[in-house]
Symmetry: C2
Subunit: 220 residues, 2 copies
């Protein structure tokens, strides 16, 4: 049987690739990587399997590219923007970032959770390449926090007897945990409360803060 009529090619190749990455991110964010359907991704991207398998060798490679080329950039942009310009008070900038993240999320984003954390929990034990790429992204996040804290130690706004990398790892873990619990609770209030508690913890890191540092937690 002869081939039917054929659509014109109007997009540049890298545009097609980018549409695939964004459609894949959405589908993976909703269903998880394993349950993500290539057909759904293709429908959303408006291309067919030929395009997909021209740009990526298999489904795993598509997932890797989503982490490296989409998720990583979004995440670092959202969490490290205020810390990039060597702020005078890194702790305040970090607290402001926490509060802004809690306030600016849509209900849908709360429901679906952090794409990187979702992928981490699902794929880390199943695929070593996924795990390495995910951990590298988390590490860049932690590193951004740690650098800011170290600069705070240099300018005297952060206690010098703490390890910036360990603080950064804890803050990232507590933030991701807060998103995850708020997701299963379906509660923006819980997200706000937890991130506020984390912000209060950061006050503990100020040199002069010994007296008044502690979670007030009367509301939030």
């Amino acid at each position: 049987m002869p081939r039917q009529r054929r659509k014109r090619r109007v997009r540049a190749p890298d545009v097609t690739r980018q549409r695939l990455l964004e459609a894949a991110l959405q589908e993976i964010h909703r269903r998880g990587f394993q349950a993500a359907s290539l057909d759904t991704i293709l429908a959303r991207a408006g291309v067919t399997k030929g395009a997909l398998y021209h740009h990526f060798p298999d489904k795993a490679a598509l997932g890797y590219a989503v982490v490296d080329e989409v998720v990583k950039g979004l995440l670092l942009e959202r969490w490290l923007a205020l810390l990039e310009g060597s702020p005078a008070d890194p702790l305040a900038a970090l607290q402001q970032t926490l509060r802004h993240r809690a306030a600016s999320l849509t209900p849908g984003e709360i429901e679906l959770g952090c794409p990187l954390n979702n992928l981490a929990q699902e794929m880390s034990p199943l695929d070593e390449q996924f795990r390495r790429r995910i951990d590298a992204t988390f590490d860049a996040w932690r590193d951004g926090f740690a650098r800011a804290l170290a600069r705070g130690q240099e300018n005297g706004t952060v206690r010098r007897d703490v390890d910036p990398r360990k603080i950064a790892a804890f803050v990232v873990a507590a933030a991701e945990g807060s998103f995850g619990l708020a997701k299963s609770a379906g509660s923006r209030a819980m997200l706000r409360s937890n991130l506020e508690m984390l912000a209060t913890f950061l006050d503990t890191l100020r040199p002069e803060a010994a007296a008044r540092a502690a979670p007030s937690a009367s509301r939030g």
Copy 2:
């Protein structure tokens, strides 16, 4: 074609059901709920589909039962055991629990993560019944912590100007986040460090602790 030889029924029904639940927990823990194969679960349990669909109406019901009848019990037993008997110093008991959890996990458990958190991140947005059961389990966990903290407020070992439920929610979130990040980092050291940081945060909640409370973090 006539039926072949047939195995004897040697197990009681509830034993079969229990074997299904435990096999399902293992498979779900490894692959996630959606990717969990019923055939794999059946092979591990040593029964066939007839047995499965006699005890459970469908795959989802099996998953719900795993949460309610297996995961919930294991989790509360591991995290609330030291807090049940109205300890004189609930904060110390909580810190001891954190340290014991960090120390007693096998590498395989670190790699696979917390079964409840895995299910929460995967299934909460996809299945409202899953979400409710998972959140109820998390809530029992938070409630156990909150009750212990409230008793500490009564006997004077915990500051009275904090909300026990909010503290409990934060501790659970930070703990789960720590497990999740350690999982994707493949690092028991990160788990220990983060839970130690969380234990240090709990010192902040002591009435007299204003001066010395803070993350020492010189090592861990």
